[in-house]
């Protein structure tokens, strides 16, 4: 079983991300981390490796610094890692990323499953996993919380708004993994040591044999959201009932109901 876990490096969730005066996104000195959603993809991949044997390859598009996110996946237990890095990729859109990832998946070769997180913290669209599946021509199994491989097929439980759907598809397939898969494991001491020594190949677009994909989606402007100064009024009273009466009045006065 060969599994590829696609990951991205993003600013930490706690980071104060904002737009500077010259229109650049900045997160100050907040750390860059593996996209938290992608940790579920790595966890799901490692679970399947444990259940079926095989290897897990972590794959990432990003600058040189994105090596650190790949090292996190290696420290969790991934066997190898590949970084796709090329300055021509600075302005790609999600479809461009999907084309590059599909080319890298093909170059790695022999994959049975490609796993993604549900979405990234930065763009947040969640469209790269299905687009990669579409470019590869493989079935897309999104929002997966449980995985069982049997023979040449995979049966998953998809966690949707309306309930849980059990879906079966032939391998190879693309999966996006959600939190129900289980808490991502912490990197072990041995894992961290192994990751620090790992050689991570860097592939350019030339190595993948493709041109830089043209972007249909273009960013026009970025801005900080309007600052809403919320001052919390703590409601007090003699009894819970008295507080409840006051709060109910205030809620109704806001005319949101």
């Amino acid at each position: 079983m060969k599994i590829i876990a696609c990951i991205k490096q993003v600013p930490d969730s706690e980071a104060k991300v904002k737009v500077t005066e010259n229109g650049q996104v900045t997160w100050g000195d907040a750390p860059l981390v593996i996209n938290p959603f992608d940790e579920y993809a790595v966890e799901g991949a490692l679970q399947q490796k444990e259940a079926n044997g095989g290897t897990v390859t972590a794959l990432c598009i990003g600058p040189e610094s994105a090596r650190e996110a790949l090292k996190h996946a290696l420290a969790m237990g991934a066997d190898e890692a590949v970084l796709v890095s090329d300055t021509a990729l600075d302005d790609i859109d999600s479809l461009g990323a999907a084309r590059v990832l599909a080319a890298a998946v093909n170059k790695i070769g022999g994959a049975d499953m490609v796993m993604f997180g549900r979405q990234t913290l930065d763009n947040g669209a969640g469209v790269t996993p299905p687009q990669t599946a579409r470019v590869l021509g493989w079935p897309m199994l999104g929002w997966v919380g449980q995985i069982k491989v049997e023979g040449g097929s995979v049966t998953v439980e998809r966690v949707l708004e309306e309930g849980r759907q059990t879906v079966k598809a032939n391998l190879p397939a693309v999966l996006s993994i959600v939190q129900s898969i289980g808490e991502p494991r912490y990197p072990s001491f041995m894992g961290i040591r192994k990751a620090s020594k790992a050689a991570i190949p860097v592939w350019s677009l030339g190595d993948l044999g493709i041109d830089a994909p043209a972007a249909a989606v273009k960013r026009v402007e970025i801005s900080n959201p309007p600052v809403v100064e919320t001052v919390c009024e703590i409601i007090t009273g003699e009894t819970p009932e008295a507080i409840a009466e006051t709060l109910a009045e205030k809620i109704l006065a806001e005319k949101v109901l």
């Binding site: 687009q131 309306e162 079966k168 598809a169 806001e254």
Partner: protein, 329 residues
């Protein structure tokens, strides 16, 4: 501008945000609604009643269970022959996939979770949140059709005009089945916190009531019963923090926040939720936020307009009673 609106539904139940998309489409001129599925006559009729001038229906057994591939291939085939300038979708787990795949088929781009947009001729500029809403992005799609998914409750829902009719066009499904649906369990009966006007959520605090003499999960169940009663009086849905979901108190479908759902209801009541940043990014766009927590220092109070420092097991029933009285329920 030739505008299509994709009507997203689950087994014929249409997401309210589909009608919001239809209402927005109408502001640009005539609108064609697209309904794919099996046995979707009622959804097609509803599309007329919410304002569609034309409805394209593909009613086919192969579309009985939603799967991304046959839905994407069918919609892409329709769009390549009719060349709309714009296809609007409500934002759901299904439409993120569907619009994304159509963008591949049609060699175009997709813009998701759009909260505002402006139109110049047939060019749409959207505003969408990035970095979990910490930054707003304005973006355009230079290819056609422009595929845009709209954030739920960001645009007004049009009034329904009963009996309204229009031109119904039937079209063929395009076979592209790559998976089989083996089962479906509705144990988490239709939780759609994204569409709810009111969300009442519980956090770790729902398991904290030693006086009940119950174990953690049984205590939490009692807590969520109280929260459910308050939600019911307000006609709202029950949400939860990640701590409550991880504790096994309630299912993942209820989770509000970074790894759950982003909601923007008119009223959000947080009960026993401390307010980790991962939760706040999921609810801070609610119009009115009320927080109930034992800990006066809990970060949730920094986002709330009104706060009550107290025990949710005592206060939530009191608030339910006070609101029930005022709302005449």
């Amino acid at each position: 501008m030739k505008t299509w609106v994709y009507i997203d539904h689950f087994k014929g139940e249409v997401q309210a945000a589909s009608w919001e998309a239809l209402g927005l489409g109408k502001t640009f001129g005539a609108v064609t609604a697209v309904v794919l599925g099996a046995g979707v006559d009622a959804a097609a009729q509803a599309a007329f009643e919410y304002g569609a001038d034309e409805v394209i229906v593909v009613d086919d057994a192969s579309l009985a269970d939603y799967r991304a591939e046959p839905f994407a291939s069918t919609l892409s085939a329709l769009a390549s022959s009719s060349t709309p300038d714009l296809i609007l979708f409500p934002t759901t787990a299904r439409t993120r996939e569907l619009s994304a795949m159509c963008a591949v088929d049609l060699n175009s781009g997709v813009l998701t979770d759009v909260s505002a947009l402006s139109v110049d001729g047939d060019k749409v500029t959207v505003t969408r949140p990035i970095y979990e809403g910490k930054v707003l992005e304005k973006a355009v799609c230079e290819a056609r059709p422009q595929l845009i998914t709209l954030r739920g409750r960001a645009f007004p829902k049009p009034a329904r005009e009963s009996g309204r009719a229009g031109a119904l066009t039937k079209a063929e499904a395009k076979a592209d089945v790559k998976s089989t649906v083996e089962g479906y369990s509705a144990t988490e009966a239709a939780v759609n916190i994204g569409d709810a006007a009111v969300v009442v959520s519980g956090g770790r605090g729902v398991s904290n009531n030693p006086a009940l003499g119950l174990d953690e999960k049984a205590t939490a169940q009692k807590g969520f019963e109280l929260i459910g009663e308050l939600a019911s009086v307000l006609g709202g849905a029950v949400g939860a923090s990640r701590a409550a979901v991880d504790g096994g108190y309630i299912t993942y479908a209820h989770q509000v926040g970074q790894t759950g759902k982003v909601v923007a209801p008119d009223l959000y009541i947080a009960c026993g939720i401390s307010g980790a940043i991962q939760h706040l990014v999921g609810m801070r766009n609610a119009k009115l936020i009320v927080a109930i927590n034992k800990d006066a220092e809990a970060p949730i109070f920094t986002q709330a307009r009104y706060g009550v420092v107290g025990d949710l097991f005592v206060f939530v029933p009191a608030l339910t009673a006070a609101l029930r009285k005022r709302l005449g329920k």
